[in-house]
Symmetry: C2
Subunit: 421 residues, 2 copies
Amino acid sequence: MGADAATPADSALVRRSNLSLVLRRFRDEGPRTRARVADETGLNKATVSSLVAELVDRGLLREGQIERLGAVGRPGQVIELDGRRVCGIGIEVNVDYVTALIVDLGGRVVADERLPLDVPALRPDAVLDATADLVARAVSAAHRAGSTPAGVTVAVPALVDVGTGTLRFAPNFGWRDMPVARALAERLGEPPYPIRVDNDANLSALAEHVAGAGAGVRNLVYLTGEVGVGAGVISEGRLLRGSAGLSGEVGHMPLGAGTELCGCGRRGCWETTVGLGALLRMAADPKDPVRDPARDVEDRLTELRRRAEEGHERTLTALRQIGTDLGTGASVLVNLFDPELIMLGGYFAMLGDFFLADMTESLRTRIVDPNATRCEVVLSTLGFSAAARGGAHVALEGVLADPTTVPPAVPEGSERSSSLV
Amino acid sequence: MGADAATPADSALVRRSNLSLVLRRFRDEGPRTRARVADETGLNKATVSSLVAELVDRGLLREGQIERLGAVGRPGQVIELDGRRVCGIGIEVNVDYVTALIVDLGGRVVADERLPLDVPALRPDAVLDATADLVARAVSAAHRAGSTPAGVTVAVPALVDVGTGTLRFAPNFGWRDMPVARALAERLGEPPYPIRVDNDANLSALAEHVAGAGAGVRNLVYLTGEVGVGAGVISEGRLLRGSAGLSGEVGHMPLGAGTELCGCGRRGCWETTVGLGALLRMAADPKDPVRDPARDVEDRLTELRRRAEEGHERTLTALRQIGTDLGTGASVLVNLFDPELIMLGGYFAMLGDFFLADMTESLRTRIVDPNATRCEVVLSTLGFSAAARGGAHVALEGVLADPTTVPPAVPEGSERSSSLV
């Protein structure tokens, strides 16, 4: 429901909230007439006309085809989302790559790019330089496509203070207390769009919940399969963050045999048995090109996949072992969160068909009541782009929540131009 | 905000919702005049007077002292909660005891009782008979105190289908698919009050969140220390239940050495190293009276406590081992849920001062970032009564949500009596 009446003091707030309401309706429900929006929202027609005019002016809506289907009387002008004008930029910095993905308000991927980057081997300054360069290239690409970036969200495999955009602790980077948002804003010359930082698993879970295979599922756990393993948990439709945003750190459950040293400095962590490092160690010798961090991670996994398809014994054995250990840890998550869906992302999604049976078997043996549990395990279809996609989504949420953050496409009058000094 | 206007069709619904609003205000905020309630709720004064009259009639409010503090003009009559008229009954059936606790609407404990009962050794029918007898005695005790039971909630250490009151799986009872609510209703002659069934850890977490040491804490994990170990999780102020009410099954995390067989049929479950059974095995020989399930659990723990206070080496070593293993498992919960508080209930609360240091040490070594985490470990002050208290609370919530479930104390007029056939 919209709000028609307001005191002058909060009328700007009410206007913003109504702009948001109307814009979301066109994004979620598709083209419709002003009269229909008035019916659906309870706002009066004059208010809807004025809100639509402003959203058209800001380039977020446009006039579409005349609606004629069996209509009696004057046909209504159909209005539709103009999704091309603004976009969100999602960036992911992970252990051995950086990714950028540009998604416009209409949900279309405008451009994407991934670079191999051996983050733990580089100084943080060099990583931030490379990330800022990638953001700058993404912003240019957006502008070339006629789209204005509404915001940038950077996904990292880390504990993050979301409020300040500070990375608290990234075990597999060896980073602590890094003001990532601030550092990027400085390198980019204090840009007009907001820069946010968030945990990669949380953003991936959001991406799947909003538009991926987990769309509409109210309880899901998304597992990132990178060098580290993290979880993003959606419970009853909400992303769980915990009291200080530190939740979902599943990679360090003490389930492992304790032989390998974890990035966090401990032994026995789950990710030392199911992370990408564990798979590569089991599947290949140190000099094997699939273990070369300078090569793109997807190319290396494609090579492993080829070997598995050809029946290469060592590769298949390694994958089956990953499946068994993945099931053991996933049983803890099923027993604790009782989700409808466990979604496997990152490398799990690329190779999961070779270990899903072993994982499901080991999972079932450890769930308290496998017959009562309705949980399914599925592979993410967003793969390595999930975190960046979630980041772009968060950036676009800013526009949907407050469309006045997008400036009007055309100056409204000559007398206003003079104030644009 | 209340709602004054309504179509005839939903006016009964609006009236119930306003009765609930007004009753909660008196329960939560204390005595006040009708005029003040009108101010606070936005309901008009005539409506408030009518609602208050109905709540007085149903015995839930009463007239208190005249308010005179500096008042000009006619003094207002102060109205206050009459908490004695209705009560909630919480029952807990656990591995070696059953408990009843009666709490009235004013939050006072009217009566309580605990009986030792060796549940796994008895047939389910015998346990249900004993439980029904205890409910019947509690109902009689409530009536003798002038209070009417608004409902009964039975806590069990089990996966529960809350909607139907069916116990799905209680590993430590050896029970499956037991329609507990139905079985009790039959034994009690289909009583007028509702009988609900819920998980013991969930009810304990609610009790602590509502009125215990965890009051007002938005993220907490409550751990039950019984033969089994379960968790109730409050996240951002809400009890997490999962997709089918099966969440919080922490006792079966595969963290143990794998020597002892768990009630669930597996080995390596966390509760085989930290449950009451593990403590008793480590601290005493099989013939020791502290291992006799026919004796009251609190008496046995008091004896163990006495030994620990006297410096008995085997008891102290056992307790320190419990602390270490408790910290290992609790670290998983901190890494996954990021709570402000871990609350220890059941036997953990009675003996925790002997192992809290060991637990905290082992917890800190496994938390991903112990410096960023603000989590504290505290002992429940509700102890073994927490689950029953949570159950009584749930029963009383029914009255607060719909005060019309409490019949008027006095017939309103003779012409209405004739319709009470």
